[in-house]
Each structure stands twice: as C-alpha cells, then as structure tokens.
Symmetry: C2
Subunit: 353 residues, 2 copies
C-alpha cells in the first residue's frame, strides 16, 4: 500500500507551516505562523485541530515566540515569552495536550532560565521538534497495540477526525486502523460527518480515500441505524482529555455513539496518548466544555441555512462516561475496563506523575 | 399570541399549490401541481414532506389526475387514472399515510366507478379536500391530548419537522407544543438540525420563530450533551409509520434520540395520527427504509464539501423500538406503554379496521 505523507505541521527554516484544515478537501494549502499570537489564532480558528496536533502546535508556538524575542535582554525576554504562554493557553480550553505541551515547554524554560535569550530560543525549538517527533512515535505505538483489537473484515465506525491531520502524523483512532491495514487486515471505515465543522466528511473521509482504505460517509444521526442494521463491528474514537477515572471528553456526539454501541454490544475503543490523560481531573464533570460561535451551527462556512432568530448552542465536546468504554488504547498498552488504578499505573510507568 | 397561518398545501381554482420546503427559510414560495405526475415529483423531491402532508398531497394528486382526464370516455379514464395511482404510490416508500390516502381515494373511485368521468373527478376532489380538512382537525385533537403531557416550563427536544409544514396545518409533534402554548404553558423547543435535509434548522426553527415560541437549534450530535446536562424535559417526534406492535419509523436519528432519552429517564413521545398506524405491518423489521441520493450526504444543495471518492449511505428513516417509547399521542387519545392490543383497540375505535 502506498503511504501518503500527510505533514499536518512542518518546520520550514524559521517558521511553522500547517495544513489549513478549514479548507480541506476543496483546497490543500499550508498556512504559516511566526509567533505565539499567530499560532494561538490558528488553534482558535481550527486551522489546526485535534488534541495531539494542538499540543505540538502550541509547543512550536512557544518556540516561535522565543525566536522572535531572541535578541531581547533576558528580563524583557522572560516577560514577553510569559505573555506568549498566556495567549496560547487561552486559545482552546478542552484539549489537555495543549496544557501538557505548554507545561513541558515551561519546565524547560525554567530549567535554562539563566542562559542567553538566543540559547533558550534554540533549545525551546529543539524541544518542540522532540514533542513533534514523539507524537508520531507514540501514534505508531498506539497503532500497534490497537491493531490487535481489530479482526480481519471489521467495519469500524469513527467520529470526528482522529487521524494524521489531528496529530503530527499517523493518527490516534485512524492510526489504529492504519496499523491494522498495514498488518494485512481488511478494515473498512464508517465516518460520521461530524457537524458542525464536518471533520468526518472533510478530513477523515479524505485521509482514508488517499490511502484507499474503504470509507463510507454517514450523517451523525445515522450511526444508530448502521448499528441496528448490524453494519458496525467496532467503534474507535480519539480523545481531547481523559479524566483520572477514565471519563473521556471528545468531539460532541461521541457520547451518543458510545451509548448506542453499548446497547448493541459493539466494543467502544478510545485511542489516547498518555499526554491526553489528565490525572488532575478526577472525572468528566470537572472538564470545561468549550462553546463555540453560533455561526458554525447556523450553517457551514459562509453558507447560512438556519432560520433567523433562532438561539444556538454549540458545545464542541461531550463527556463519555467510563462505563461506556471497552478499552483505552495508549502508547504503553491497552487498558481494558479502565479504572483510576489502571490509568494511574500506566501513566506513572510513563513518568507522567 | 399571534397565530401564523402556514398553508402547507392550498387548492387554487384548478390546481394545488405547495410551499417549496426545499427552499425555506431563505425563500418562501409556492409550487403548483396539475397532475399525478407533477405531484409524484413534488413528493419525491421533497417540495412537500412529512407523512401527513404527503398523504394529503397524494389525495390531491389523484384528484388532479382525474380532473385532467375528466373528458375521456370511461374505460380510458379508468386505465389512465390507474397509472396515476401507480406513479404516486412509487414516489416515496416509507410514510404509510401515502398509501392510506391512496387507498381512501381508490375505495371512493371503485364505489363510484359507474358514474361519468367528470362526476368522478369532482367527487375525488371533494374527498381530497375532506382528507385535507380532516388532517387539520386530527392535529388539533392530538395537540389537545398531547398538551396535557407537558408541564409549564418544559424544554422539549424534537427531531426533524413534525410541524405545520409536515401536515395540512398545526402539526403533529409541533402541534402538541402549539396546543400546550395556547393553553398557557411556557414551553421552549430544542430543535435537532436534522441532516442531511436540515428540516430542523430550516423548518422547525422557522415555524417556532414565526410564532415566537423560544427555540434553540443544535446539531444532531448535541442531543446527548443537552440531556446529560439536564437541559431536556421531554422529547416529542412525529412518525412516518407505526407498526402494529408500536415500533415507529421516523426520520433517521430518531432512534438515537430515543435511546438517549431512555438512558436519562426523559419521556419520549410520538405524535402520530391513526392514519400513520399500519396494522398490516407487524413490527419495525418489516418496514422498508428509503435510501436517498448520495448528494444529500456529500453536502447541502449545490454546496458539496465531502471528500471525493467516499462511499455514502443515506437511509431516510430508522426504527425506534416500542420499548423506548413512553407514549403514542393520537387523535383518539394517548397510548401509554404501547402494545399491539392497545394500538389495535384504538385503531378499531377509529373504524380503521
């Protein structure tokens, strides 16, 4: 199988370039970012999206800001880079990878605070690149573990895009599917279109078509029909944050799919790098759910079809309770029937604690 | 409260006019039909949609054809009108009201077969008008029964459009809400947008805004979030067909909402005139589910956003098993915990058997 190289993010001499995911699949183009401010806007506007990709992007955002400020005297450098951290932290509230990546960058910054501004800047860039490469390696490890859960011939439903585009490459949920296909299993994908931003119709479908993995697109409200009709063998989704008890925050609609999967005895898997696990959040109830702009629900892009005068709700995520989750797939192994103890154990192994 | 007069269908001297529901809310215009063929196209293309409205439209389709043929000699008249019946019967497969209305028209035709073509034509038009008026009366009766199930302050989620636009007027699910509001209860509506045709965003939202009933629009995948968040007190939907055992075929996505409602102990009501009850269909498994064109899922109208090369499924309806249904609301009363016996009893009362 020909493997497409989707470079969601790429460093080009002195700046970062990102595939503009708002425009796919109609247009394939890269957008540059040269500062924390520009990167925060790209994250907020969903040029780049997906929890792991947001983490990598935020790390680069810090590095870009540091490089921009590298000629400043130390005190001023530290003042201004702190503002860069703040801008990035405010860009989106739900994906924990954003904060995880910013914390890693801040930890390094603190540990080398006495060095020259220029040295700090280059060391931060090196760390951002490590986070980037780690993400691909982690996705490959998750894929290898997860692929064993899928059988030859499985029809796998996924929601939103937890693919190469949501990560630095390979993908989390789609990474598992890719790894299973690479291992010789015939897997077909059912993609929920995922309103309002249509990540399923535009991104997941596009990624699968590129790699000639059979993919069937449905509207979000058809998942129940497909399950009741016996056309779904497994569900795999990504995660924006996993609470310590195993509750998962992911793209809105994930919860509905999980409830349906349970009713139909279909395994429901969450592919989540351990950077997505937030042991500081006890349960899903504590997770802040981002509400986005009304325009997204009123239509799509500039095409607004809804009746004027209507009120709008636009939560970007929902919480899937741990009792609905068959297993978490991480880079350190699969956690079947997740519990606080199992999750904390695996996270500790990873030296996250 | 100012009551908007939504005339979904109206007879104008020698033809029928229908609101073009494909264009709402951007454009409000009527489309005429002069024959069974034109009417069948309007039903297939969803100029007119909603099970009760389709029934009324089909009845007028027969009358239009009869009027077109009224100068033909008897034998030829009967041959050609039979073809008109066939065209209309083939227009959409799931809503039983279509067949119910055609059967009523055919029964009348047979009983007056010896009369002149012209007499038959006018008698069929009179019957179509009776079916039209009956539908409004029936919706009012359902509304009165259903309104008692809603409490002051209830936030009622609905899927698709079971409103005035789906009927000859007042509506089934929205008719219950209208009647509750008329009775002085403060009701607010949560409308699923209802991909792919967006009946919720375009039609339900529009109807509610016209009457100043508070309405909040969400994408279909947000219903679970709203329920988990404690923001839904009841669900009311319409029906395209109710099997003898109480299983309900309705717009795709209804099943998912029903499963979620059960998980959250939220009552799930189906407003269905007895013409929607099909005692000849034993359970939901026997109901033919229409699959519509791929283009509907690839985008909306001419705006296609999905990745090229993807496969599509587009079932227009799904089946909600009777164990998920709190009550059926009919024009003859409310059937709590529906069973074959209760449904057959009420239908017999209505002389449908």
């Amino acid at each position: 199988m020909q493997h497409l190289k989707i470079e969601t993010l790429r460093w080009v001499s002195d700046h970062l370039e990102m595939i503009d995911q708002r425009m796919l699949p109609a247009e394939f183009k890269y957008i540059p970012a040269y500062s924390a401010d520009e990167m925060a806007n790209c994250i907020r506007d969903m040029v780049v999206r997906g929890a792991p990709a947001i983490g990598v992007a935020a790390a680069y955002g810090v590095a870009l800001e540091a490089l921009k400020l590298k000629h400043l005297p130390s005190e001023q450098f530290h003042q201004e880079i702190a503002m860069g951290f703040e801008q990035l932290a405010k860009s989106r509230p739900t994906a924990v990878n954003l904060f995880w990546a910013l914390n890693r960058m801040k930890g390094r910054l603190v540990s080398i605070a006495e060095k020259s501004s220029e040295s700090i800047a280059y060391e931060l860039l090196v760390l951002a690149k490590e986070i980037h490469e780690d993400d691909i390696r982690i996705n490959r490890a998750m894929g290898a573990y997860g692929a064993k859960l899928l059988k030859d011939g499985d029809r796998v439903l996924t929601h939103c895009n937890a693919g190469a585009l949501a990560t630095a490459g390979h993908g989390t949920a789609l990474g598992v599917i890719r790894s299973a296909v690479e291992a010789g299993k015939r897997i077909s994908v059912i993609a929920d279109e995922t309103r309002p931003f249509l990540q399923g119709a535009r991104l997941t479908a596009w990624e699968m078509v590129q790699e000639q993995i059979p993919v069937t697109l449905i509207t979000d409200n058809m998942a129940g029909f497909m399950m009741a009709n016996g056309e779904v063998d497994a569900v795999i989704v990504g995660a924006d944050r996993v609470a310590a008890n195993g509750d998962v925050a992911n793209k809105v609609g994930t919860y509905m799919v999980a409830v349906l999967a349970q009713r139909h005895n279909i395994p429901f898997y969450v592919a989540c790098p351990l950077s997505t696990v937030d042991l500081g959040t006890r349960s899903g109830k504590e997770i802040v759910i981002e509400e986005r702009a009304a325009e997204e629900v009123m239509g799509f892009r500039d095409y607004q079809w809804a009746a004027q005068g209507v009120k709008i709700r636009n939560p970007a995520f929902d919480i899937t309770a741990v009792d609905l989750i068959t297993a978490l797939i991480t880079e350190n192994g699969v956690i079947v029937n997740p519990t606080l103890e199992k999750i904390a154990g695996l996270a500790r192994l990873n030296k996250l604690l």
